[in-house]
């Protein structure tokens, strides 16, 4: 099957790859580029484990065709940390013990970063509604919601400081 040459930006670096027309962005990230931070939980958009930011929008990478990434800007879980330091959402997940097995964690963190980037003052109900597309089977969500609330507070303090 003929493959398409794609030029895109991933986590700030210009990246090129070849992809079959039917290949998902998730498949290329994981198998071609070795960016395995996006996880495959369902491959049909039901679990959110493969969340990435696509031109600033939160998407399930399994539901995006790789060829759509032409000239796009993509942020994966690996690109959330700011250089050597953790993002406030990542730090809050650690401090609040908001992960157990950790397989859903990269997706939750990308989604929470997408939410708090726009709405750092999101309340519990808003956070629950925004993260309803991310499944976690270990935590019962309690500590995840608390971690996102805490990160939002930190980000607001940081913005006002």
């Amino acid at each position: 099957m003929a493959r398409t040459h794609v030029v895109t930006t991933i986590n700030g670096s210009e990246t090129e790859f070849l992809a079959e027309p039917r290949e998902s962005l998730l498949s290329v990230l994981r198998e071609t580029l070795g960016l395995t931070g996006a996880k495959e939980g369902c491959n049909n958009g039901n679990c959110g484990a493969c969340n990435v930011l696509f031109n600033g929008r939160l998407v399930n990478a399994c539901c995006v065709l790789a060829v759509e990434a032409q000239e796009a800007s993509i942020t994966t879980a690996e690109g959330i940390a700011n250089g050597a330091g953790l993002h406030p959402v990542q730090q809050a997940f650690l401090e609040e013990a908001a992960l157990q097995c950790g397989i859903c964690t990269p997706g939750f963190i990308v989604a929470a970063v997408a939410l708090l980037g726009k709405e750092p003052d999101a309340d519990e109900q808003r956070i629950r509604a925004y993260l309803a597309g991310n499944l976690c089977r270990c935590t019962g969500y309690d500590k995840i919601i608390r971690a996102v609330q805490k990160a939002g507070e930190k980000m607001q303090q940081g913005a006002s400081a």
């Binding site: 079959e20 039917r22 290949e23 498949s27 994981r30 198998e31 070795g34 960016l35 395995t36 931070g37 996006a38 996880k39 495959e40 939980g41 369902c42 491959n43 049909n44 039901n46 679990c47 484990a49 994966t76 879980a77 690996e78 959330i80 940390a81 953790l86 990542q90 997940f93 650690l94 401090e95 609040e96 013990a97 992960l99 157990q100 097995c101 950790g102 397989i103 859903c104 964690t105 990269p106 963190i109 956070i127 629950r128 509604a129 993260l131 309803a132 597309g133 991310n134 499944l135 976690c136 089977r137 270990c138 935590t139 019962g140 969500y141 309690d142 500590k143 995840i144 919601i145 608390r146």
Partner: protein, 754 residues
Amino acid sequence: MTSAEKPDFKVVGTRPIRPDGVEKVTGRARYGADTHPPGLAYAQILRSPHAHARIVSVDLSEAEKSPGVLAVATHSDLPAAEDKTEAVGEGAVNIKELSELILASEKVLFAGHGIAAVAAQTQNQADDAVAKIKVEYELLPAVLDVRDAMRDDAPILDESRRTKELGGETSDRPSNIASHSQFAAGDVEAGFAEADLIVERAFTTKMVHQGYIEPHSSTAMWNPDDTIAVWTSTQGPFAVRSQVAEILRRSLGSIRVTPMEIGGGFGGKMTIYLDAIAAVLSRKIGRPVKMSMSRRDVFEASGPTSGTAIRMKMGVKDGKITAAEASLTYEAGAFAGSSVGAGAMCMLAPYSIENIKLDTYDVVVNKPKTAAYRAPGAPAAAFASEQVIDEITKQLDVDPLQFRLQNSSREGTKMVTGMVFPTIGHEECVQAALDSPHYKTPIEGPNRGRGVASGFWFNGGMQSSVAASVNPDGSVNLTEGSPDIGGTRASLSMQLAESLGVSYEDIRPAVVDTDSIGHNDVTGGSRTTFASGLAVYEAGQAVVGQMKERAAKLWSVEADDVVYEEGVLKCLKDSTKEMTFKEMAAQSARTGGPIVGQASLNARGVGAAFATHIVDVEVDPDTGKTEILRYTAVQDAGKAVHPSYVEGQIQGGVAQGVGWALNEEYFYDEEGQLLNSSFLDYRMPTTLDLPMIDTIVLEVPNPGHPYGVRGVGEVPIIPPLAAVANAVADATGQRFTDLPMSPRRVVETLQELD
């Protein structure tokens, strides 16, 4: 709960950041499917679309010609399997049946049963090729429900199967009932004769899945020297190694299993669905082969837990349970071996009852072979027993927690198995529930109700092996073999720090492959923080012992003249002589070489776990939807090593239990097709389905562990099914004896009553 002589711990009981945390929040941690060795090929399995059929022929010719295809394999590529049983983690597996489960030879026994495998250059090519395999089937009638499967005229899955009856006798005709066992104590007839109230009810639960977010994935490389490397996501790398060795007839020492990070297991990641066949394909092509399940494969071809039918009868006199009798029938799936025995043993353990008779039936049906799922067998059993108790308390008009307290097991109570309880915390759990802010707040409003329930889980001991290597700068590498599913690197590092008297930050843990540490049983049975914790404690004490001996030599005194207090070696003969842990570590080369403490054990002194839950619900009579308004889970942890992760285990167990109660079920059509094999249609709780889950963690120390630790992971899934059902009964006046209490079932039931 808190005794006067409660020991003062420095590290145990604190809430540090887990050692593997940064890798997991940055997307760098490598899970099963993240394996990518050079030259990797990809494989796929053709799975049966039929629930029960004879395989007439398999034509692989078109698949072999498909672009990118490297090799194909069927059951005939596996060596002839021995008809023997191997212990695997929490249960046992028959090797011949395991071989049939991996790839079917003559008959498919469930929709999703593997038939043939293809390896190709890419995953898409493997998927394409599998679609070109032609299989001719002779369809057979399928049997899907445990009660139907027990009928005399039921379709038989295995003509050679005979029921193993009580006492080892077997029947003389084929049956789907693999075994019938009984647990009994006292005289139930006398107990019921004495009772002034008897309640009897029948209950059913549906097959449900563990629902881990990470699908199974295994990568194998069969090297030219006949050594085999396996990278996989598993709860038990040593269990994988022994199964691969049995299936492929290789020695244990020739197989190295590397446990990747594991994205959830809950009991479901111990069986080798993929590993051996990936190895067979690798041998054919001389390259590593990766095999991953799709989400649909996970639902259809891994190991969910049994659907059940349970009849329960209980008698009381003057508020005291006089007798209990039950029959428990559990679906084993396509091959024998459900968790019905564990379910029966747990069912009434929270209560002191003299007269008990429990009959258990393990029954095969045309569905996936079941596997362990968090406290395997117990939630469905408690769904029955805790509702019968609720019914009794409603009829007697007594407080359901007071009734449980009056009938509670305590130290010295004899279980139905004959085992006598040591120190346990059920009474404490019930009392704490009674005293909780939740229970003291009345529930008000229309269509609202409150339910409570208790649960018991044995907890596991089993084998663990660890090593603690002291570095010259005083940091310590902890080498362990228990995959970390929910924070055990943290809980074990904390126990080692406590044992050594050093700080948590000085410990660096690693979960290593099967070549690099002694045998470790699975991460399962709520055993790791307890049993590997016990090993870690002993390894720490071994390090301290070696340091004392070395200090004694340096100071020219006897080892008994050296004491170790709060990280400092002190000489009893000369108070000027002291060495810190770090100073002694720096002296290791010139005092005899590296200081390494090791411990290997088969843990005794397991402390049982009890829990009592309270839940408030609101049931919408128009839609049938049940909303969880408030949830409080009380649990005895013995000693909460890392309280945040103990709370997390409890909250996670509650969430799974609530999903089981309200929505989750394997939904089959009459032919045995699973109709909801996706996360959209198999409805697990989301962020919007649960409130914050309050936890009350009690600490009734386990006398069998130096820090009092009891396993915590499993018991929290046991009470929710019954607690929610009791709350729904309180809200609607209608008792729901069949799970799930989905909106459709609730609304139909309530409308029938109108």
